[in-house]
C-alpha cells in the first residue's frame, strides 16, 4: 500500500533555488503556515541561514491533495548544491524514486547541474526538470529549456518554468511529481531494511538516523539492529519530519522518516548502514554507498593552549553531525598541540572553522590546507603524509607523488581562452572538450589537487565573470618534482607555515610568501626576521621592524571608558594571535600560502 507515496529530492547547482522551491512546496501543501514561513526554512543551521547555502540535506513530509482528487504523502529531501557536499546528494538519491532538477534561468546548466543529474540518472530516478527564476529580467528560459532537452531528451516546451520566489507555477511541480515519480515498491511483509541516508545528534535523543524504509516496517517498540556495526538498541522513537520531528507509531515500506536511536556516538550508527529488526533480521544489508574521503587536510590548533580539550570536545560533537569530518591529534613544534583534520574541500573546511568558533566559542587557528602525498623512501617504503611538516629529510626521499584530479569546467564558449591559460599555469593538462548542450562547452582537464585548492575556484569565477563552474573527481597519484618550502621566523623553522611546492615555483612562491607575511605579521616589540628556504637555500628574507609607537593620545574630557574599550579591543586582537616562540602570528599568515596563486 504505497501507491500514495512519492519520495523525491531537489537537486541543482549551488544557488539555483532548491531551498526556495522547497519553501514554496511546504507552503502550497500547507505543511508550514504562511505565518511560520521564513526564507529557506529547511536551512536550520545558523550558518546555513547566514550564508544562504544548504550544508546538510534535510527531509520533510508533506500531504498533498492532487488534481486527480487523491491525497498523497510526499517526502521531500532538499540537498546542498556545493561541490564539497556532493556526497550528501548521493545519499539523498538513494532514498528517492524521483528528482526535481532545478536550473537557474539566468545561469543555465552548470557543473553541479550535470554532476547531480548524472548521479540521479545512474540511481535510476525519474527526472523532473524545472527552470527557476523566470521572474528575473535576465532570465533566458527558452535557451535553458533547449539545453535541458538536449541533455535529458524530451521536449523543451514541457520543461516547467517557475519562480520559486513568487510561487509562480510551483503547483505544476507537485503535479508532475505525483504523475511522473513512481511510488516506492517495497513490501511491508518482508524483514525490515531501512537505509540510513543521514544523521544528526540530539542531546536528548542521541544519534537520530534519517531513514528510508525500503522493505518491512520499523516501530519504536521493537529492538533494531544496525547491520554494519551489529549494534542492537531499542529506539527512543521513530517518526517523520513534518517538518519538525514528529513521532509516529510505525514507519512502513517506502516511507521516509527518522529513528532516534539514543546512541551516543555516530560510529555505532553510520550513514549508509542498514537498519533491520533484531528479532527478525534481513539476510543481507542494502548496498551501502561510498563514504566520502577527505580531500584536504589542515591543522587545527587552539590559540590558547588551555583550550585544547575544549577543542577536542567540539570536534567530537561536530563529527556527530558530520561524519565526513575526520581528525586525529597532531603536535607542531612551533605551535603546540592540536589536531590534523580532513575535509571534503575548502568550503567544508571553512564551515567547520566557523562552526567551531561560533557554536563552541573557541579561538582556533587553521593552518593552510594540504593534500595527501605519497612519499617513496629510499628504503623502498611508501609514506603517506598530509602535512608538509611530515615530509622526511630529502636525502631519504626518492619520489613524491601527489593526487591528480579530473576536472570538468562548464562554461559559455567565450571564456575558452582564459580558462586554458589558468589551467596551464596551474600545471594542468587539457584532455578533451564536449558540448553537452547547445550553449555550453565542457572542458576536461587533469590537474594536481594541490593547485586546485589554491584559490583556483575564485580565480576561475573572476576570469569568467562567474559563469564557469567546475566539478572534479580523483584521478591518480603522480610523481613530480616537488619540494618543501620552509618558513623561518627569527631563525626557527615554523612547521605550520611550511608548504610543498613544485621545484619550478619554489623561488617565486618563496618570495611572494615572504612579501605577504611581512604585511600580515604585525610589528612586535622587537625586530622579527622572516625567511623562506627551499632545497637547502634561503630564497627570500624580510624584516618586520619593531614597533616604535603605540599609545593613545588624549584622555579626552575624562572619558576613561572609551580609552579602556580601545585597549580591550586591542588586547582581544592580540589574544587571537598565535604565539610562535615569542612572536605573535595572526591566523591570516597561516593561510597566506593559499593566496599566492593569483600573483
Amino acid at each position: 500500500m504505497t501507491d500514495h507515496i512519492r519520495n523525491f529530492c531537489i537537486i541543482a547547482h549551488v544557488d539555483h533555488g532548491k531551498s526556495t522551491l522547497a519553501d514554496r512546496l511546504l507552503q502550497v501543501t500547507g505543511t508550514i503556515s504562511d505565518r511560520d514561513m521564513t526564507e529557506q526554512v529547511l536551512d536550520t543551521m545558523d550558518l546555513e541561514r547566514e550564508k544562504g547555502v544548504t550544508i546538510k540535506a534535510s527531509a520533510v513530509r508533506m500531504n498533498y491533495h492532487a488534481a486527480d482528487g487523491r491525497d498523497y504523502e510526499l517526502n521531500l529531501i532538499d540537498t546542498p548544491g556545493h561541490v564539497d557536499f556532493g556526497y550528501e546528494v548521493s545519499r539523498a538519491l538513494n532514498a528517492c524514486e524521483g528528482a526535481v532538477l532545478v536550473v537557474d534561468a539566468t545561469q543555465g546548466i552548470e557543473a553541479q547541474t550535470l554532476a547531480n543529474l548524472y548521479q540521479a540518472l545512474s540511481a535510476d530516478l525519474e527526472i523532473i526538470p524545472v527552470i527557476n527564476k523566470i521572474d528575473l529580467p535576465s532570465a533566458r528560459p527558452d535557451e535553458v529549456a533547449e539545453d535541458i532537452a538536449a541533455l535529458i531528451g524530451g521536449n523543451a516546451a514541457e520543461v516547467i518554468r517557475i519562480s520559486a520566489k513568487s510561487g509562480l507555477n510551483v503547483e505544476q511541480v507537485l503535479e508532475a511529481v505525483v504523475r511522473k515519480v513512481p511510488p516506492p515498491s517495497g513490501e511491508d511483509q518482508k524483514p525490515a531494511r531501512a537505509l540510513v541516508f543521514d544523521s544528526h545528534y540530539d542531546s536528548y535523543k542521541g544519534v537520530v538516523c534519517y531513514v528510508r524504509v525500503i522493505e518491512g516496517t520499523l516501530s519504536a517498540n521493537e529492538t533494531i539492529r544496525l547491520m554494519a556495526t551489529g549494534v542492537e538498541v531499542k529506539p527512543i522513537e521513530v517518526g517523520i519530519f513534518a517538518p519538525t520531528m514528529k513521532p509516529v507509531s510505525r514507519l512502513k515500506a517506502g516511507e521516509v522518516g527518522y529513528v532516534a536511536t539514543g546512541l551516543k556516538t555516530v560510529h555505532d550508527a553510520r550513514v549508509g548502514d542498514t537498519i533491520t529488526q533484531a528479532n527478525a533480521p534481513a539476510a543481507e544489508p542494502l548496498p551501502g554507498y561510498f563514504h566520502p574521503k577527505p580531500m584536504v587536510f589542515a591543522g587545527i590548533y587552539p590559540v590558547d593552549a588551555e583550550d585544547y580539550s575544549d577543542l577536542r570536545e567540539s570536534l567530537e560533537k561536530l563529527q556527530l553531525n558530520d561524519a565526513s569530518l575526520t581528525y586525529e591529534p597532531e603536535t607542531s613544534q612551533a605551535i603546540g598541540f592540536g589536531f590534523r583534520a580532513g575535509f571534503l574541500g575548502l568550503f567544508h573546511m571553512e564551515i567547520i572553522q566557523e562552526r567551531i568558533e561560533r557554536e563552541y566559542d573557541l579561538d582556533v587557528l587553521f593552518t593552510a590546507p594540504s593534500v595527501e602525498y605519497e612519499v617513496g623512501m629510499s628504503t623502498g617504503e611508501t609514506l603517506r603524509i598530509d602535512s608538509p611538516a611530515q615530509l622526511p629529510d630529502e636525502s631519504k626521499v626518492t619520489e613524491i607523488r601527489e593526487p591528480w584530479m579530473n576536472i570538468e569546467i562548464i562554461t559559455p564558449t567565450d571564456f575558452y581562452g582564459t580558462i586554458m591559460d589558468l589551467v596551464i599555469k596551474r600545471r594542468g593538462t587539457f584532455k578533451s572538450q564536449e558540448y553537452p548542450a547547445p550553449h555550453r562547452v565542457q572542458l576536461n582537464f587533469e590537474i594536481p589537487l594541490a593547485e586546485l585548492i589554491v584559490d583556483f575556484f575564485d580565480e576561475l569565477k573572476s576570469r569568467t565573470k562567474g559563469y564557469a563552474s567546475l566539478d572534479y573527481q580523483f584521478l591518480a597519484y603522480r610523481a613530480d618534482a616537488l619540494q618543501k618550502l620552509e618558513i623561518l621566523v627569527n631563525g626557527e623553522p615554523v612547521d605550520a607555515l611550511a608548504a610543498i611546492v613544485h621545484e619550478k615555483d619554489a623561488y617565486h612562491k618563496g618570495q611572494a610568501l615572504i612579501t605577504k607575511l611581512k604585511d600580515l605579521i604585525p610589528r612586535q616589540l622587537f625586530d622579527v626576521a622572516i625567511q623562506a628556504s627551499s632545497g637547502g637555500r634561503i630564497i627570500s628574507r624580510a624584516n618586520v621592524k619593531a614597533m616604535r609607537k603605540d599609545v593613545l593620545a588624549k584622555c579626552y574630557g575624562g572619558d576613561i571608558s572609551r580609552k579602556k574599550k580601545l585597549l580591550e579591543k586591542q588586547k582581544k586582537g592580540k589574544r587571537r594571535m598565535k604565539m610562535v616562540g615569542n612572536v605573535e602570528i595572526p591566523q591570516e599568515a597561516f593561510m597566506a600560502v593559499l593566496k599566492l596563486g593569483a600573483d
Binding site: 609607537k549 603605540d550 599609545v551 588624549k554 584622555c555 574630557g557 575624562g558 571608558s561 585597549l567 580591550e568
Partner: protein
Amino acid sequence: MDVPYAVYLHIPFCRHRCAYCDFNTYAGQEDSLSSYVQALCNEIQAVGAGVSLPVRVGSIFFGGGTPSLLTSAHFRDIFQSLYRAFEILPDAEISMEANPGTVTLAALEQLRALGMNRLSFGVQSANPNELRLLERIHDYSDVVNAVLWARRAGFDNLNLDLMYGLPEQTLADWQKTVNLVTGLDPQHFSAYALTLEHGTPFGRWASRGLMPTPDPDLAAEMAEWVRDFWAEQGYEHYEISNWAKINDGFKMQNEKFDSSFRIYYSAFVCRHNLQYWRNLPYFGLGAGAHGYAGGVRYSNVLRIKTYIERVRAGGAAVRWPLTAAAVNQIPIHRETEMDETMMTGLRLVQEGVADAAFTARFGVSLREMYGREIDELLGFGLVEWKTSGDSGVLRLTRRGWLLGNQVFMRFLRGY
C-alpha cells in the same frame, strides 16, 4: 581626609568642525547657547543639592567644543552656580580651553576677573598649510595675539595644544612649529599624535586614499625629538603627552593614600588632569560629559537639545552624583578600579604608580596583584622600578612611553 573633587564642564559648540575631530561637539547650534548654559547651571545645582555636606572642589575645567564661545555673562552665571553648589578651594585651578580664533582682550580680561586662572589654547600647528588641512578656523597670527592678550589680561598659566604626525608633515615642519610656539614661552604644552578617527573627514579621506596616512615611525621620531627639545628648554615631561615649565618645586597633594610618598612637580602641571591620571573622582557636567564619582563611571546624553530637555524635565536622580542627563553608568568594582589605576597612573611618566600608594589604597601590593604582567613588561624594557622616598615606583621607561598601549593593555584583566 577627603581628596577634593574635580569638575569638568563640557561646552559642545564649535564654529566649524575641524576635519579630524570626533569630539562631542556641534557646529551651527549657537542658537541654543543660552538655554544650554541655563541647563548647565541647573545640572550643577542638582549635583550640589544631592549631598548635605559641602563638596570640596580643587579644580574646574571648561572643555569642549569651544568654551570661548560663551559670553562673560554666561560664565558669570556658571561661576555663580558653581560657588553656590560647591566649596571651591581658594587655590583651585580653574581652566578653560580656548580657540585662538575666538578670543578678544576684553573677553579674556573679564574671564580673569571672574576667577579663571588657566587657559589652554588649541594651536595645533604654526604651519598655514597644516592649519588649512585640519580645517582650523584660525591662523598662527591669531595664536600670537591670543597669547599676548592672555598675558595682558593677567593669565600666567597658559597651555598650548599641538598636534604632530599630520599627513605629509615632515620632521622639519614639526620642528619649525615647535620652535615658533616655544618662543611664545607658555607654561605648559600638550602634544598629541594625530589619530584618524572613524566617521571624521580625515578618516574618510584616508580610507579612500585621498590623503596619505601618517607614518607611525615618523610620528615616533617627532615625539622623541620634541621630548629632548623641551627638556633643553626647561620643560618637565610629566605625562605621556604633557610638559610643564620647571620653576620652584611645588608639592602636590598626594597624602590621601600614602603620606610617605610625595612628588615635587612644577607649579604648572595641570592639576585637573592629574586627577584623572591618579584615578581620583571628578564630576562630568554638560552634554556628553563623563564623570567618575561615588564608585561609578557615568556619562551624559550627547545631543545638546536632549540634554537641555532632560535637565529641564529633571526628575529623580538615579544615584548621586548622576543627574537626569546621565544615560550611561558603570559601577566600578575594586578589581576594575585597580586596573584603571594602573592604566591611568602609568601615563604619569615620572610619578608612575607608587607601590605604597597602591597598597594603601587597595590593601594589596603591585607585585601581589600584577606580578606576572610586571615581569613580562620589565623583560620588554617597557617599565622600570624606581625608588622614590621609601616606596618603589613602577613607571614607564624611556622606551615605554611611546608604547604605552602595550603596557596598559596588560593591566586590563577584563572585569
